[in-house]
């Protein structure tokens, strides 16, 4: 298990080096190396899934196959685990992402024809490197390590889009890089801030995600103890009879109240900090997903990037941002998440669903349409995640996998169309279903999966996301209602694509280099059969996957539930509550000696 996870990162990176050093200017050898390396990762990821579902992996709720060694220790001999470490491990949330990465990279390469210009050694080397980095990001259990992998993916992306892309490739690559970099710089600040706030500077920075999660979970406890003390003192004060006893009780009550007040003040500051950190962390992740106001790089990049790259960009890499939300933002900043996730991220996700859907309707280029539809569909994933309850979180994570499979399949369809025809303008095709029967069947099933037909995969994820969001009540309910309108738009543009391309009078454009276009070849049939099999499997029997995911989302949801309870239930006397509220509007929370403001003097 441990070796398998290390191999997932090492094999593609090694393959990239091998390509650079042994296969320069030798297309066939480069292709062989790249295919071998990526197919090995596919085998490993399939094996990991199998092992996990047979129950030989780690315990639910913990990480399997952990590898950990310290890169930069800050804790000294007292706490040798503290610091920046190379820490990777697998859990139910990352398992699906690993599978997507392991499946779509080889599939995209496999379907790229031998004659394609993408079989250049340079492209293949970057492509493998990208896969290794993506695996690394999904497996990271250390904040800095995650950031490193997350950020490094930009480099292969930049060179691949800029080197092998379409007509506007330079603009696309520049935009992709600058948007990504700008967002990530904020995220870096956020990561340092989280580490300082939760890890505590006095003991040295800590970047380990599992340890920080534990700290974040325990933050609420002293505060609750303090609240209990106040409540107890108050009841004592009301009970006692004699004057002397009454005075003593009153003194105890005042003391407890004062203590709570202090804690609340600190808490108010910590809460403001959380809000800032939340926004900073989200900046980079939002660009990657992308969510609506920072999405401008995406349609351009998806349209101009070499198509094999677009496949993995949309199906695997877009999940990095969402993965960051559920792995880092929600568990490490629970109070801010409870406060901000639904109103801010939920609203943006809903806007994205509708905006993406409408924009997809307004274009007649297949790649633009799929790009905007991606924004729309990822909105559903995000909506599930920010509903913050187990139902929505589980649905959101499942929907991430579903989107990878279905949209990945649609992009692969675009890829094989581009292998045959020079352009992907939808209006140049018509009535393809007559001669391209197998392709037509694949297209119909993928479109049906994409519009959320029950029995195919997307339905379960979308339904759970919507149910989770609706159960939120209040604004969550309104957002869920608006989001369902996205289902109508989704059906509309998808049917437009299907009916214009495969239905109607036969009109097939001229092919690349005048070849006679063929229906699906054997290799293509194999890939699409496995994609459709996955669609049906996850649609008809999603329970094992849901169980595996919810083992981990359950913990996140519980932590968020406690944070919500702290904010909702307020057992403190009104006057104190209102006094604190004027201070910085935290409703409740915890006090920890390591809150940033109180600890400046204590730093070594």
């Amino acid at each position: 298990m441990k070796e398998a996870l290390l191999a997932l990162i090492a094999i593609p990176l090694f393959g990239a080096l091998l390509t650079v050093f042994t296969a320069r200017h030798c297309r066939n050898r480069a292709r062989t190396i790249a295919l071998t390396a990526t197919i090995m990762t596919l085998a490993i990821s399939v094996w990991l899934v199998a092992v996990d579902f047979c129950g030989w992996g780690g315990q639910p709720g913990s990480y399997a196959g952990e590898t950990r060694f310290l890169i930069l220790g800050t804790g000294g001999p007292v706490d040798p685990l503290r610091g920046i470490s190379f820490h990777i491990g697998l859990d139910g949330i990352s398992l699906g992402m690993i599978f997507l990465t392991g499946f779509l990279f080889p599939a995209a390469l496999f379907l790229t024809g031998k004659a394609s210009p993408l079989n250049d050694w340079g492209f293949l080397a970057w492509f493998q490197a990208l896969q290794g980095l993506t695996f690394g990001a999904f497996l990271s259990l250390d904040l800095v390590l995650f950031y490193l992998f997350f950020e490094l993916t930009l480099i292969p992306l930049y060179f691949m889009v800029g080197g092998w892309g379409g007509g506007l490739r330079i603009e696309a690559a520049t935009k992709l890089f600058l948007y990504g970099l700008t967002g990530s710089l904020f995220t870096l600040g956020g990561i340092v801030g989280v580490s300082l706030a939760l890890g505590g500077m006095d003991k040295g920075c800590d970047f380990s995600i599992p340890r920080l999660v534990l700290v974040a979970q325990d933050r609420g406890k002293p505060m609750e103890a303090s609240m209990e003390r106040v409540a107890k003192a108050k009841s004592e004060m009301e009970k006692t009879m004699s004057d002397r006893e009454k005075d003593a009780a009153r003194a105890r009550f005042d003391e407890a109240e004062h203590d709570l007040f202090q804690k609340r003040k600190v808490e108010a500051q910590w809460f403001n900090w959380q809000t800032t950190l939340f926004l900073m962390l989200m900046a980079g992740l939002a660009v990657k997903i992308p969510i609506i106001p920072v999405h401008f790089w995406q349609p351009l990049a998806y349209r101009e990037a070499p198509i094999a790259l677009t496949v993995v960009l949309s199906a695997a890499l877009a999940k990095l941002g969402l993965f960051g939300v559920v792995r880092i933002v929600l568990p490490l900043l629970p109070d801010a998440s409870v406060r901000l996730a639904t109103p801010v991220l939920g609203t943006l996700a809903t806007i994205g669903i509708l905006y993406g859907g409408l924009a997809a309707l307004g274009t007649s280029n297949l790649r633009s349409m799929l790009a905007f539809s991606s924004i729309s569909h990822l909105g559903f994933c995000l909506l599930g995640l920010v509903s913050l309850n187990e139902t929505g979180l589980t649905g959101g994570v499942l929907q991430m996998i579903n989107h990878g499979i279905t949209t990945g399949g649609l992009w692969l369809l675009a890829l094989i169309l581009l292998e045959r025809f020079p352009s992907l303008e939808i209006h140049t095709f018509s009535g393809m279903g007559k001669r391209f029967k197998a392709m037509g069947v694949v297209a119909v099933l993928l479109v049906l999966s994409s519009v959320g037909l029950p029995g195919l995969n997307n339905f379960v994820g979308e339904a759970l996301s919507l149910l989770g969001m609706f159960a939120q009540g209040g604004e969550g309910r309104q957002l869920a209602v608006l989001a369902t309108l996205g289902l109508i738009l989704g059906a509309w543009y998808m049917l437009n694509f299907l009916l214009r391309t495969f239905y109607g009078d036969e009109r097939i454009p001229a092919t690349v280099q005048g070849r006679i276009p063929t229906d699906l070849t054997g290799c293509e049939k194999m890939v699409f059969t496995s994609i459709l099999a996955l669609c049906f499997l996850l649609g008809l029997y999603p329970q094992p996957a849901l169980k595996r995911i919810s083992a981990d989302t359950h913990l996140v949801a519980r932590e968020l539930g406690e944070a919500r309870r702290r904010q909702m239930g307020n057992p403190i006397p009104e006057n104190i509550g209102s006094m604190v509220l004027t201070h910085g509007s935290p409703k409740s929370g915890t006090n920890q000696p390591s809150a940033p403001q109180t600890q400046k003097g204590g730093a070594r």
Binding site: P299, N389, T391, F459, L464, L466, N496, Y503, G504, S550
Partner: protein, 679 residues
């Protein structure tokens, strides 16, 4: 005893058949692709008969339920649990055998109708999946499972409307059907979300029915309204009715099964299923009633002037569905003394039942006409066919008589119950006028129904013999475009018996089997109260005791209207054909309004489709040309700033010295007087 697991098998067999046909059909089964479907339908039909057998026993069993494993579920404070849960109670006990019986008949008919079509196995594969989804919808004991069946029938309907995918009209009709019903589906989904949250996070239908009664009236109204929106989409109720006439682009047997007998009645089934709590909201009931009434009247008015045989039948279906919703709308629980909920449900479901048989028969007869006449459906180009197609003629006439509801035939018994229910509802403490209006809408619609049905009947089967030229051009199975040509000699065609002939036995046999059902099911189950007693025993519905002796007048009135309609049609289209042309001229714009379907399609297209398209182009253009460029201009700020400040570095030492001196001065001034300046 019936093992409840059998319930799960009922949808499973057709689903398996569908999978087998679609996987092995094109290569192995080919022309024999219909066998798995027919076998599965028969087996499931027998199973369903066994199931209702145990429902009817004296043991007092009113439902059988099978609770299978999870489909998907989550835990936590707001759990979702969707299992393979099936339940058969009298409502579904009536629906399932009916669906499977008609599926068997129509599948047999299709064997002849679809012979030699290149998509033969695809047709039967999707057909089988439709049967599976429809039985799933009816048997589901969990709202999300019901939703799965609901979407499943929608998609099969979409695929079958677009079955001849190279016809541009077919693909437009398929998209329209999917999109319009999708609007309804979203309503249903939202209704399910509301019920789930409102009823303690349960999705189990009996639990919902119990818990929903405790909801606040506003919440109840909203949830019920959303469910009804779903029903409006699927059952083609105004204003979402526009997809059904276009859906006639599909093969005619499909129109018979999906767009007349079964799928379009799913909305009625849904509302009937949830009527116990919908009826708690009188506002919602009257809304349902009026939507049904408007639909019934409007569709009947449109059907008066249409020239396409299948479209007339489609509008007739819409109109009859409106009837059923009117019946459901009369299910008042606020009457003094008695509650009409049970009676309304029975009336609607009974009409659904009889309608399924006679409308399927009508569509199959139309299919037989089309099959023999080279797929021509234009009434103006057909005539006198009773001599050419004697069996089809009898079948169509039987269907028409049943639809019009003349006394001994099916339609009378079920339509009468609906009118009685409406009349009874008008005797309540309030809303009297509303229900009186609805009763009269029902009666007028009955008259219109009689007129348009027999108009079509007389035009096609009476008068001089007219046979379209396509008979010669088309063999069986070529379903391409029709080329209107009128220069031919009908008698020459007639004399050649091999060209214009009755359909093959595989098509006429199903017609003959259906005739007694279409004519007789109403009389068999209606007056003897068999159906009433069976359906009224559905769990969740209160027992019903009522006396409707005051409502007998509606039966007479409906007969008068019906006979009047037939008589008028006879007068205008058989006795004095010129009268029809005169009427057309006299009525002028009213005639055109009806002919053009009140311009509703165009209106709704402009309102929703065009406006959304414009919005989407706008968004697309703004995204690319405005917002993106704005962000780009932000990116130009550093370059611009650099451009502005670059001249400062001009390499002149004097300038640098001056700048240094100035800067130092400002700094010193700030140090010396800063606190005074900025206090």
């Amino acid at each position: 005893m019936f093992d409840p697991f059998g319930l799960a098998l009922i949808p499973l067999f057709p689903a398996l058949a569908g999978a087998i046909i679609l996987l092995f059909g094109p290569r192995i089964l080919k022309g024999q692709s219909h066998w798995p479907l027919i076998a599965a339908c028969v087996v499931s039909f027998v199973l369903s008969l066994f199931a209702i057998q145990s429902l009817q026993g004296d043991l007092g069993i009113r439902e059988i339920s099978y609770q299978g494993g999870h489909w998907f579920s989550t835990s936590g404070p707001n759990p979702v649990s969707v299992g393979w849960q099936f339940r058969m109670d009298p409502i579904s006990g009536m629906m399932v055998p009916m669906v499977l019986f008609l599926s068997t008949i129509i599948a047999t008919f299709s064997v002849g109708y679809m012979k030699d079509d290149p998509g033969y196995s695809r047709y039967f594969g999707i057909f089988a999946l439709f049967v599976a989804a429809m039985t799933l919808l009816v048997l589901a004991d969990n709202v999300l499972l019901l939703y799965a069946g609901w979407e499943g029938v929608g998609v099969c309907s979409f695929l079958l409307i677009g079955f001849w995918f190279q016809k541009p009209t077919a693909l437009k009709a398929a998209r329209k059907a999917f999109m319009v019903t999708r609007i309804g589906d979203v309503g249903l989904l939202l209704g399910i979300l509301m019920l789930w949250v409102g009823c303690g996070y349960s999705l189990h239908i009996p639990t919902l029915l119990v818990k929903a009664q405790a909801l606040s009236p506003e919440y109840l109204y909203m949830a019920g309204f959303l469910l009804f929106v779903g029903a409006m989409g699927k059952s083609a109720q105004f204003p979402l009715h526009i997809w059904l006439p276009d859906a006639m682009e599909g093969p005619t047997p499909v129109s018979a099964l999906i767009h007349a007998a079964t799928m379009v009645t799913a909305g009625v089934y849904l509302v009937a299923r949830f009527l116990p709590f919908i009826s708690l909201s009188p506002d919602l009931l009257i809304f349902i009633g009026f939507i049904g009434g408007i639909t019934a009247l409007l569709a009947a008015l449109i059907a008066l002037t249409q020239n396409d045989l299948k479209r007339i039948l489609a509008y007739s279906t819409i109109s009859q569905l409106g009837y059923m919703f009117m019946a459901l709308g009369s299910g008042r629980s606020d009457l003094s003394g008695t509650s009409l909920v049970t009676f309304a449900m029975v009336a609607a479901m009974f009409h659904l039942f009889t309608h399924a048989f006679f409308k399927a028969l009508l569509f199959l007869s139309a299919g037989s006409v089309m099959h023999s006449m080279g797929h021509v459906v234009d009434l103006r180009r057909l005539g006198g066919l009773r001599r050419v197609l004697p069996l089809t003629h009898i079948a169509f006439l039987s269907g028409s008589l049943a639809l019009v509801g003349l006394l001994p035939f099916s339609g009378f018994w079920s339509k009468d119950e609906i009118l009685v229910a409406l009349d009874a509802a008008s005797h309540g403490p309030n809303r009297t006028i509303s229900y009186i209006v609805l009763t009269w809408i029902g009666l007028i619609t009955a008259g219109l129904t009689a007129f348009y049905t027999f108009r079509a009947y007389f035009l096609v089967f009476w008068g001089e013999v007219k046979i379209p030229i396509e008979v010669l051009a088309h063999g069986n199975g070529d379903h391409g475009h029709s080329h209107p040509q009128d220069s031919y000699d009908p008698l020459a065609v007639l004399s050649d018996k091999t060209v214009a002939h009755e359909s093959p036995w595989i098509m006429t046999l199903p017609l003959l089997v259906l005739i007694p059902f279409a004519l007789g099911v109403g009389g068999l189950f209606g007056p003897s109260h068999t159906m009433f007693d069976f359906l009224a025993a559905t769990p969740g519905y209160s027992a019903f005791h009522g006396d409707f002796s005051t409502s007998h007048w509606v039966a007479f009135a409906s007969q008068v209207f019906g006979l009047g309609g037939i008589g008028l049609a006879f007068l205008m289209y058989v006795l004095h054909p010129r009268l029809a042309a005169v009427t057309k001229k006299v009525s002028g714009s009213v005639y055109n309004l009806s002919l053009n379907r009140f311009y509703l399609d165009e209106l709704l297209t402009i309102l929703f489709v065009r406006s959304l398209q414009i919005l989407s182009w706008l968004i697309q253009a703004l995204d690319r040309e405005l917002w993106d460029k704005l962000v780009d201009s932000v990116a130009r700020i550093p370059a611009w700033l650099g451009d502005k400040f670059r001249p400062v570095q001009n390499g002149l030492v004097q300038f640098y010295a001056l700048a240094m001196a100035l800067g130092l001065t400002i700094f010193l001034v700030f140090l010396a007087f800063g606190d005074r300046l900025f206090r």
